[in-house]
């Protein structure tokens, strides 16, 4: 089977990094059980580097996995699309992982595909996905604007994951200063306001009662499995307030009121910190439209207080090895809710 250029370079880089002992692990993707659904891979030995793949289905956000390596002082390498990069920057700014311990392998991301959507767009019958998708998956960037599948032209946008339609950051933030570029940086993306906030606006246009019903219906379906929180790369606390058994902010009962408490808490905590990777919605077993909530808040924050600054990580690798132990010297995260301006809007008189 042919191996695309990005995968080629990724494997080579991973092999070098592992062989030379520069990193203890490379976090990337490997083929999963089904084509079009690669899974995160944690490669520790140079000879396993060939398991790594890069293709148009590598949508999962890998940033959160670095938190599993908080303890220790070895370096780890991470493959980073735009949203992984944004999340890494957030994690570094939140002082949860020092930049010096990271080797960032950047990939320009033209938007990731969703296997289901691609199959639908190509009219693939339920059972016949695999072989066809395998073919799409093999190329890192199957056709700039589209590709052929099942004898049908499939436009790329038809297969994009919804969060990728909204993407404004196809590349890792410049401040992250990636160590290696595995591909060319992707061209800028400018989603329309409607793509970004169309669903938010639709809800805003409803009456407050209608909105209430909408969210009550949604939240009453929540199973409180915490999958959204668990995959969220900016939920980087060591302990979660929702698990605090002593104060018991969140009651144990799974009912609408507690579910609402849970989701309002999460919304306030990711407000202005959310990187839009959409992992929460993908993980939610009952399909709650969670990012609508988070996008609403990010939008309002920006409207009220100006653009939300990305955290600026420490100056490149210059300081590598300098700061030992605690993440001393790391730049601090900017969070709109822990800053203020004297002339912030005031609606409260």
């Amino acid at each position: 089977m042919t191996v695309n250029a990005v995968t080629e370079k990724l494997r080579q880089t991973a092999r070098d990094l592992l062989q030379s002992g520069q990193v203890g692990v490379v976090i990337g993707f490997e083929d999963g059980r089904f084509p079009g659904q690669p899974r995160p891979a944690f490669i520790r030995r140079a000879e396993d580097a060939d398991r790594l793949v890069w293709n148009a289905f590598c949508g999962a956000n890998l940033a959160k996995y670095v938190l599993d390596y908080r303890v220790g002082d070895g370096k780890i390498a991470v493959v980073a699309k735009g949203c992984d990069g944004a999340a890494l920057a957030r994690i570094i700014g939140d002082q949860q992982f020092p930049r010096q311990r990271l080797v960032v392998l950047a990939v320009g991301c033209p938007g990731m595909l969703d296997a289901g959507r691609v199959a639908d767009a190509a009219g693939l019958p339920d059972g016949a996905w695999d072989a066809a998708l395998a073919q799409v998956a093999a190329a890192a960037e199957p056709g700039a604007d589209g590709f052929e599948l099942n004898g049908k032209p499939v436009s790329r946008s038809a297969g994009l994951r919804p969060q990728c339609v909204r993407c404004r950051q196809p590349n890792v933030p410049a401040a992250l200063e990636p160590d290696v570029w595995l591909s060319e940086p992707a061209p800028e993306r400018h989603p329309s306001p409607d793509q970004l906030y169309g669903d938010v606006a639709a809800l805003e246009a409803m009456s407050v009662e209608e909105r209430g019903r909408f969210w009550e219906e949604a939240f009453s379906r929540c199973l409180r499995c915490f999958a959204c929180r668990n995959v969220c790369p900016v939920c980087d606390c060591r302990e979660c307030v929702l698990d605090d058994a002593q104060t018991r902010w969140l009651g144990k009962a799974v009912n609408l009121a507690e579910n609402q408490f849970f989701h309002l808490t999460r919304a306030m905590h990711v407000a202005g910190r959310c990187v839009g990777c959409g992992q929460c919605e993908e993980a939610c077993p009952v399909g709650l439209p969670l990012t609508v909530l988070y996008r609403k808040l990010s939008h309002d924050l920006e409207e009220l207080f100006g653009p939300v600054e990305m955290p600026a990580p420490q100056e490149g690798k210059a300081a590598a090895g300098a700061a030992e132990g605690a993440a001393a010297g790391l730049e601090k995260a900017e969070w709109a809710l822990t800053r203020f301006r004297l002339n912030d809007p005031d609606e409260f008189d």
């Binding site: 060591r238 302990e239 001393a328 601090k332 969070w335 822990t338």
Partner: protein
């Protein structure tokens, strides 16, 4: 087991007249944890307090709720009561049944029901109270004063006079500041030097004061009561322990043409110099930039002539470490650059000068010996135009605020001009004349009535030369007519602005400044000399424009704060401070920027994870700095930082109890 006692006060008829107090006490008896509840006519009276003490002892109470007047009224009283019965004073909660209930609601069931709810909330809270203890931090009884203008001198003198050691750091070779440059001072026209010089001498001779001139504060660490300060003593190239200040070196120095900063470049100085004859200390320093020895390697005249062998070209900057308990910042001000108003021609026409130049021109020890002359041709000016508000109150080109002193010193200049130059005529262009201050309006009246100053309300549009005169063109807005004056000299009252390096000073000491870089007081009304950083105080114009009387008052106020702090060996800290649970804290430091007192800092802790010892960062609260606002607690996503006395659990319990 909680054993809570509830005491419902009638407050005579103040509460009992509206609220059914018996019913409230009755209801309290069935609240969770309550073992004793009663009502009493005046809980705050002697017998009332005795009753509470008895109940604490007899009923072995672990918590007390008093339903009475506002806690802002008697909380302290009742804390003492509870404490004297052997209970921790913080195991008390007061339900506000008077101000928040009986005084604002009619006598009806709903009011009693509300009273019961308020008591229930207090009971729910007190059940979650923990004993709290005041902490103590030792206080180093030595003060640092930064800046040796009148503000710094006054503050240092006041602190030293109270018996505490004070270090006064001044960056110039002499103390004195701007006031030393002034001639006479409004509103009494006493000579500036006559009132300042004795103070300069006093402070330098005071056995409790250490004067470090030609020095700058480089770094400040620590917190109230315990600051460690690094001061850089700039090399003077003169060993001041040997120098007697005879001045021979200055006489002999061949580099004589250097514009004197003190004289606003209207006079000259040598390369080895003291800024002015009455300088304190009266010992010279070598200005390396202009010194021929440093520039060319040749010269060495001063070393040759110095009878004490005090000249030392090899001298290096020195660093001194100080331990102090309090800091007074008194770094003063700079003046707005009037060249930014090109229409006035400052910088282009030598006879357009600023108020401070004028002070030097009229000063008898100034470059002209007190004769007011034009810088261009040394002729005595007759018509002098003063232009006020140059930069002040002009958001577009200058600063938005009023510089406060210019109206008064311009009136002063008008008077001085008329006094010094017979037949001279002062003209003043102004926007408004502001003379708030004792004797100020009268002073301004004298300028116009007695000394014949002509005040013209309006802006000057242009100043340009005509022959050897300057034409000042403007508009008299009261008459609505253009005016043109042929002037011999133009004096600009340029705005008072913060020191160019004010922000750096604020950052290195660690307190905040406003948009204009003036230093920010902790509270505009109630804490005007404190900063947000405990133990750091402000005096003088560094906090905002003010004249000498105000500066001195503020300096003494700052000194009083320092002395109050030093009057105790230890400082009691507020026990209701924030507290981090290090086991839960992720060390994200999102709480750090919200603390107005810089009380939260990262700290490294050791921990065992999976049998391995690791160190990691967590937040930690300096209890000496924390004022207990609780802002940090709402910033922390995990709730890992909590406020003692107002914990998450306590507040949540109150909420639930109220909503029952």
């Amino acid at each position: 087991m909680k054993r809570i006692g509830v005491f419902i006060c009638w407050c005579g008829s103040n509460i009992a007249g509206t609220v059914d107090v018996e019913k409230v006490a009755e209801a309290a008896r069935s609240m969770p944890g309550v073992v004793y509840a009663t009502d009493y006519k005046y809980t705050c009276s002697e017998p009332g307090q005795q009753m509470i003490k008895d109940a604490i002892r007899e009923q072995h109470l672990t918590g007390v709720v008093i339903g009475s007047c506002s806690p802002r009224m008697h909380e302290k009283t009742f804390r003492k009561t509870v404490e004297s019965a052997g209970l921790n004073p913080y195991l008390l909660e007061v339900a506000n049944l008077r101000e928040h209930c009986s005084w604002v609601h009619p006598r009806e069931e709903a009011t009693t029901r509300k009273a019961i709810d308020l008591v229930r909330a207090a009971v729910a809270k007190v059940a979650r109270n923990h004993p709290l203890h005041q902490g103590h931090i030792p206080v180093e009884k030595r003060a640092l004063v930064i800046g040796g203008g009148i503000a710094g001198i006054q503050a240092a003198l006041d602190i030293a006079e109270s018996g505490y050691e004070t270090v006064l750091v001044e960056r110039e070779p002499s103390i004195g500041g701007r006031m030393a440059q002034l001639d006479k001072t409004f509103p009494t026209l006493d000579c500036s030097a006559c009132i300042l010089t004795p103070k300069m001498v006093d402070v330098s001779r005071h056995d409790k004061v250490t004067l470090l001139t030609y020095s700058e504060v480089e770094k400040v660490e620590g917190y109230i009561g315990n600051f460690t300060v690094t001061v850089r003593r700039k090399a003077a190239y003169v060993d001041h322990s040997k120098c007697t200040g005879c001045g021979l070196c200055m006489e002999k120095c061949p580099a004589k043409k250097i514009p004197s900063e003190f004289e606003m470049s209207l006079g000259r100085r040598t390369a080895i110099y003291r800024p002015f004859p009455q300088a304190v200390p009266n010992k010279p320093v070598i200005d390396r930039e202009h010194c021929l020895k440093f520039k060319t390697g040749k010269c060495g005249v001063c070393a040759h002539f110095c009878p004490r062998g005090a000249i030392d070209y090899e001298q290096q900057d020195q660093r001194v470490t100080l331990h102090v308990g309090a800091i007074v910042v008194a770094t003063g001000y700079d003046l707005f650059d009037p060249a930014l108003y090109s229409e006035y021609g400052y910088g282009r026409y030598p006879d357009v000068i600023t108020g401070l130049h004028f002070e030097r021109l009229v000063n008898s020890s100034g470059p002209t010996g007190g004769h007011i002359v034009r810088p261009s041709d040394h002729k005595e000016p007759k018509n002098v135009v003063f232009i006020q508000c140059v930069g002040s109150r002009d958001e577009a080109k200058g600063v938005s605020y009023c510089s406060k002193i210019c109206c008064m010193y311009t009136a002063k200049h008008a008077i001085l001009l008329a006094e010094h130059v017979p037949g001279a005529h002062p003209y003043v262009f102004y926007m408004d004349v502001r003379t708030a201050g004792k004797g100020y309006e009268e002073f301004y009246k004298r300028a116009t009535e007695e000394f014949g100053a002509t005040y013209i309300r309006g802006r000057v549009s242009k100043v340009y030369p005509r022959g050897d005169k300057l034409v000042v063109r403007g508009e008299d807005t009261l008459l609505g007519k253009p005016v043109e004056i042929e002037a011999d000299l133009v004096v600009l009252a340029n705005a008072v602005v913060a020191r160019h390096d004010a922000a750096e000073v604020a950052r290195s000491v660690g307190f905040s400044y406003d948009g204009h870089h003036f230093f920010t007081e902790a509270h505009p009304k109630l804490a005007p000399v404190e900063t947000n950083t405990a133990g750091v105080f402000l005096a003088g114009v560094c906090q905002g424009p003010k004249d000498i009387p105000e500066t001195v008052a503020q300096a003494s106020a700052a000194a009083a704060k320092v002395v109050a702090l030093f009057s105790k060996d230890q400082m009691a800290t507020n026990p209701m401070t924030a507290q981090v649970d290090p086991a839960c804290c992720a060390g994200c430091m999102l709480c750090e920027p919200v603390c107005p007192y810089h009380a939260i800092r990262p700290e490294t802790i050791q921990e065992r994870v999976g049998g391995k010892a690791i160190s990691r960062q967590v937040a930690s609260v300096n209890e000496g700095l924390c004022q207990g606002c609780g802002a940090c607690t709402a910033a922390c996503r995990t709730g890992c930082i909590d406020l003692k006395g107002y914990t998450h659990q306590q507040i949540l319990a109150e909420v639930e109890a109220l909503c029952l």
